[in-house]
Symmetry: C2
Subunit: 349 residues, 2 copies
């Protein structure tokens, strides 16, 4: 492997001068720069970052620790956000996945420490409360899409499920809906309660009473092994004599089931019933016809801004207690079109 000394020999200068050129330090003759760069190109020299990091004790590597990579597909956007930030700031990303196993997580922290990475983004694939098990290992870390368990001093960045759900409910009320069904997420998910509470609050603020709301549990049981009642509950709610004109689903996958239930009952969306979701999981939200009104989770920005927070922390400019919350925007689509535009959609099916 060609080193700085090989370049120095070819260019006829000292290794230090090559180092100066590589690091763009001042006080090098243009002529020398040229000669060195020629030698670099000739030999295909690429600096050894490991050697550099030994001296500088900074690696410019940040690590991502995820729990379950593939359960909620679009949360991969968090990783993409981190990567784009890293590229923009000259960092590299180490990736590790715990599969939810605490022992393996301990190993991951230790491995990351062994690589002397600058910091860790601890990324939860669904919004929840977490307790990193870093053991004795101390690395600056930011929790992404999650919230530290009480007493843990980690900065965090998470989506505003409450706000998104509140706005979504207001959207429905503004469209004139006065009787609304709600199918709840697994209560174990942090978002579940926030979304439900915001729904109730917005309904109340909009003048609806409890008897106007039909609330069902769509899923329960341990994450990854839950029992799914969504299809059955959707069928049931939509078969009520005074069925709601709108059905809010805990997430987009539930909305998919609600669509299937509605269609099997011969109901048309949005003519007979409006259905909305949460997450903007695009395979579903754009795959459904009409397309699904939902709330977009800012996954990409969680990643990007999380990386930014981490960077500040590494440089000592951050705070251990910063809690950043990102807005979740309602994305209105065909499934909640109001009466004036219903005609366009009703001839689709």
């Amino acid at each position: 492997m060609v080193s700085i000394k090989d370049v120095a020999r070819v260019a006829g200068v000292s290794d230090k001068t090559v180092s100066r050129v590589v690091n763009r330090e001042p006080n090098v003759t243009p002529d020398t720069i040229e000669r060195v760069q020629l030698a670099i190109a000739d030999l295909g020299y690429i600096p050894n970052l490991a050697a550099r990091s030994i001296r500088s004790s900074r690696t410019n590597i940040i690590g991502i620790i995820t729990d379950f990579i593939s359960t909620t597909p679009y949360s991969g956007d968090i990783v993409r956000g981190v990567q784009d930030w890293a590229v923009a700031h000259g960092r590299t990303v180490l990736l590790a996945n715990t599969g939810g196993d605490a022992e393996r997580e301990g190993d991951v922290w230790r491995t990351f420490k062994a690589h002397r990475i600058d910091g860790v983004l601890y990324v939860a694939m669904y919004h929840r409360v977490v307790m990193p098990t870093a053991g004795e290992v101390k690395i600056p870390a930011v929790l992404v899409n999650s919230h530290p368990e009480d007493g843990l001093a980690y900065p965090s960045i998470e989506p505003d499920d409450y706000g998104g759900s509140y706005d979504l409910t207001r959207h429905l009320i503004a469209l004139g809906h006065r009787r609304i069904g709600y199918i709840r997420l697994n209560p174990l998910l942090l978002g579940a309660n926030q979304r439900l509470e915001a729904f109730l609050a917005a309904a109340k603020a909009g003048g609806l009473s409890d008897s106007d709301l039909i609330i069902r549990l769509g899923m329960e049981g341990p994450i990854g092994h839950e029992t799914n009642y969504v299809y059955r509950e959707a069928l049931d709610v939509l078969s009520l004599p005074d069925r709601p004109t709108a059905l809010v689903c805990g997430n987009d996958e539930m909305a998919l089931q609600a669509y299937l239930a509605a269609l099997s009952l011969g109901l048309r969306i949005p003519d007979d019933v409006t259905i909305v979701g949460f997450d903007d999981f695009r395979t579903v939200s754009l795959g459904l016809k009409p397309e699904l009104t939902t709330v977009a989770l800012p996954y990409y920005d969680l990643g990007w801004q999380g990386a930014d927070m981490l960077d500040k922390l590494v440089q000592g400019k951050g705070s251990e207690s910063e809690r950043r919350v990102l807005n979740c925007a309602v994305v209105p689509r065909g499934s909640s079109a109001d009466r004036s535009s219903i005609l366009e959609h009703s001839n689709l099916g």
Copy 2:
């Protein structure tokens, strides 16, 4: 940062002896081992891998280069397969994403080289022909879920789209279907042609003639910006006077649209029409009711075995021209239940 010398001082031995204990070299007294390990635990010493790699010129890091992380969500399983392999073999994973940009890809290769990683897994998120733009940089690499452009000497591992599609078609024929619709993937995808050709071959082998097959184009245009005809085509095919009893979709997302179309027409699945997909994209395949018969892509194994191929290559035991192809298994579910079990499903909706 605590180094091997600190440990040596505390344990009252030389740094080399500590090194021996850390690396489990023979010829150290149990007593000494104990003392050293105590000191290690006391100080929280963790070896510096960068320093180690400077001496050994092996980093035990492998890099993953992906194109589009989030377009096809479950392909994240490839990454998971690689990670699990890495954990099992004491390697760490560097991750980079090109977004399909050749210039950025060049940077990625250079950065990886700067980290002196042992090898690269070049992962395509949808099965296709690729041409890595590594420039001058030489790192052992394996192409995953993709195929090298003519003349490029990279080993590769990819799914057997042809075989999967062939088996799927035979499955339908075995169930008695004699008139079958087919909605094609975007022809730009490598899998598109393989799947269609296998479908045609299996149909022919099963005694069906061209007039028994109704083939439509579901999507076209540049990847990521395609025009989608699936819903319209599905409606059309299912409205034909002699409509097919089975509809094969290029992938599961298309099958979703076909479901919606069938249901809007008042058709029942699988009673009136059988629908099948491809990919086993579980959010869709398990989210649909009845669940979708489809073909599972071996994403996880592509990752794991790809990493294994790379490892052999790094150790000089691999071949530049190895082409591994992994089986794609049919996953029979409710959407293609045969007549004897139709009753169970027909009372679902």
